[in-house]
Symmetry: C2
Subunit: 488 residues, 2 copies
């Protein structure tokens, strides 16, 4: 009868969410991980495997942490010294968290901010990593269809974390190399205006400070302008500060909490921080995400939501002791900063010697590498072409800028703190060899062009010959040339 549609059998069995692609996992950012998983580098077992440079992990200070654990056996519920706490801790499931844990995190966050701000333990809300924290804050602030402004380039998994299950939309605020990817008032206004024209309900601005992927921090004046902007618009400011303690050189980190503290006019109900121990301490496996809000209703709501992503009480218990140890934390933060500075300069100077520039940075576990001159065309497709060569032939998993929603082609995020020194050296060797080969190819193409031109009896300038004989194009280990295919 009728159309013959049997409503019971033909209707969709799963949710729209389960059958759409809005989780964003079909991104080259994740594809690179798959390439690594298939053929992971190992110095002796698989020395030609893919080196993982797509993972923003901080492995530089584990010796300090292991030493602390060694001398603090009572901090664990699984040692003879701590076992008497086992049953109480295994049973603990209050979504406020262990008081010692909340206090420890608040204290740690304060130290990360140079002691210039005090965080209240009662505003510390747990979540399953920053992933969970970012989703929780969206669920608290926005309804499906509502929008958040986010300066681009931004973290590729924001599509999953902020949007997938909440139905929130991201409006990118575009930045570019002309001013070193800084956020401008004009770009913000343009994005906000465009959203209004599109009838979107803009609920807030989300910034990542220090920036992933840029490795830069926002200065105090920019922060003040952003706080003023969101106050004027009466929208929220969510500050993802999960890389706060990775700042390794000046200018030092300025948290929104410090800015708000110093500003005369600010509606604090609009200010929220997302924090985590995944990057600053190097514990992504422990899933410690934090929502810190100045808005009481948000604290209450987020705490109820934390039932979906509480931190294991075993982990809370251990971290309560570790983060409360002033001597350890002070030393860890100082030493971590020194080691990150050293690693970053070793890596970026290595690149510089090949003629590869990175955006100047003072934070993060990665650099933002400019390979524009190696692109065959200045498009996303050109960027992806080069990326496929780097992943599949050079065997480095780096992440293309387009996966970070960067509006300019040719930028790549390269992580340097998730490996030992020798692996980093191997990565640099591979890049050097690759750049050398590209230079050879460029010479070949140039030569062919010259031959063609000469055959056409076009008078070829002496300066071109001179250029072709220049040292920069002679050796496979020479600094990277600008690609002849493209404008620079």
């Amino acid at each position: 009868m009728g159309s013959g549609n049997d409503d019971t059998t033909s209707r969709q069995l799963l949710s729209s969410m389960a059958v759409n692609d809005k989780h964003g996992q079909n991104s080259p950012y994740f594809d690179g991980w798959i390439a690594y998983d298939r053929d992971p580098f190992h110095p002796t077992n698989n020395p030609r495997g893919v080196i993982q440079m797509g993972l923003a992990e901080n492995q530089l200070c584990f010796d300090l942490i292991e030493e602390w654990i060694r001398i603090n056996p009572d901090a664990s519920i699984c040692t003879p010294q701590g076992l008497h706490h086992f049953r109480d801790i295994a049973n603990f499931q209050d979504y406020h968290g262990l008081p010692g844990f909340r206090n420890g995190v608040a204290k740690f966050m304060s130290k990360v901010n140079g002691g210039r701000v005090k965080f209240e333990a009662d505003r510390i809300v747990m979540s399953g990593g920053a992933t969970g924290a970012n989703e929780v804050i969206m669920f608290c602030l926005a309804d499906p269809g509502d929008a958040f402004l986010i300066p681009a380039p931004y973290y590729p998994a924001y599509a999953r974390d902020l949007c997938w299950r909440t139905g929130v939309q991201i409006i990118p605020v575009h930045t570019g190399r002309s001013n070193n990817f800084q956020i401008t008032k004009e770009a913000l206004d343009t994005a906000y205006k465009k959203a209004q024209e599109d009838n979107l309900n803009v609920k807030g601005l989300l910034i990542t400070n220090p920036s992933n992927p840029l490795g830069t921090t926002l200065d105090r004046d920019t922060m003040k302008s952003l706080v003023t902007f969101i106050n004027q618009k009466n929208i929220h400011l969510v500050c993802d500060e999960i890389y706060a303690a990775t700042v390794f050189s000046t200018p030092s980190f300025v948290s929104v909490s410090e800015v708000v503290q110093d500003m005369e006019f600010c509606n604090r109900d609009l200010i929220h921080i997302v924090y985590s121990l995944s990057k600053d301490m190097g514990f992504p496996g422990f899933r410690v995400g934090i929502v810190y809000s100045y808005n009481d209703t948000v604290v209450n709501c987020a705490r109820k939501m934390s039932s979906f992503g509480l931190v294991s009480s075993q982990t809370q218990h251990m971290l309560a002791a570790m983060l409360s140890d002033d001597h350890f934390v002070d030393n860890f933060l100082a030493e971590s900063s020194i080691r990150l500075a050293k690693r970053q300069s070793l890596f970026t100077e290595g690149l510089e010697k090949m003629g590869i520039a990175c955006l100047p940075s003072n934070a993060g576990l990665f650099c933002w590498m400019n390979l524009r001159s190696l692109l065959r065309e200045q498009t996303v497709e050109g960027e992806m072409q080069l990326w496929r060569v780097i992943v599949n032939e050079v065997k480095l998993n780096i992440s293309p800028g387009s996966s970070f929603n960067c509006s300019e082609a040719g930028w790549y995020r390269v992580c340097f703190a998730n490996m030992d020194y020798e692996t980093m050296e191997e990565a640099l060797r591979r890049i050097r060899a690759f750049v050398g080969k590209e230079a050879e190819k460029a010479i070949e193409v140039m030569k062919n062009m010259r031959n063609i031109i000469q055959k056409l009896r076009v008078n070829f300038s002496a300066r071109f010959d001179e250029f072709m004989m220049s040292p920069s194009l002679r050796s496979p280990h020479s600094p990277m040339p600008h690609s002849p295919f493209v404008e620079v």
Copy 2:
């Protein structure tokens, strides 16, 4: 101009979710916890405090677990023996989980099912406790506004876990004491039909087996009928089996996995299990929730969602070793069952001696206590009146049936496995004293009634005098009388 509404300042700043009450936390189920938190019982420090009988915790076998930890120091990353794993584990954040953890959980689930079913490690998906697992499965199966049938009484926090952030609706399938709260085909059909009349899109049926709060299991034939029902309607069956290993007497537990294995006609894509180690192992603090689906798309989608609630890798690592230890697990499951049986019979026999009956049960960490005869009126208000007296005067936090959406007044869930023997004895003493006082009051009321009636010179039957002198009404420690105010 016009209405004077300034769109920028007057619109709602937070999400609808943040300002509505749909988290369901304003339930007496949670209020009782607050009463306990304010004045917690302690045998020496606060012997008159509130005894927590609202928390379905399993504390009876911690000695076995502690012993295992003592002799397996290499299972922890925080012991000298296991510390060399620290950095790899702290870094591990793959949402598939540690292979050893997945294998361990699959093996454990199989043992809980008496080895009659094999679970595939690749279908084990992590979530933040059963709370997270239940939400994840809803996000996978249903869109906002879609509905799930759930036999009532059911777990009070389902409103939060299943509905709050997903927008899914619960349609209770009512059961009652006339057939010991069993699910009937008629009740299911009625609920399904009603939902269709209300234009609701019914996406599935969710059952808790063993039941919380009933402490009963579903027999094989009922399970088969339910599987047939959902197949006929082409809707999902979600089986929350988090109490599977708490079955302490016959009939033994029959998982949906076993039923599906034996049935000829069943669309397995419709079958999903929620599991957890919070109840069966007594580790609610560790937040181990599991989604196990026979539907590949659901497994894939749920795994992506597990990023929001991964189990701490520290905890995964320890449990991988513990759950893979055949000797330990076999002994633990057998001993846990014996201890639960003993505790349940001690507690319910204690109640029986006072004339308080519980629904006959073979599982769970609680009993379903019938206090209908003590209600002043057979309504939710009558039930809540009595509940307030029990919480505030008797100082026992038990949970009223209405918070479980029970359609009959006068039932209460009482947890007995989250305390030591002495505390349980103290709880029984308090109940005995209370029942005695209620009996005294009943006698007083009866006497007054008799006096009034005699004054009215109504001929009072000898049988009434006889009843008033019966042993059951003489002593404050006598079995509970039926309240004279109400029909039984």
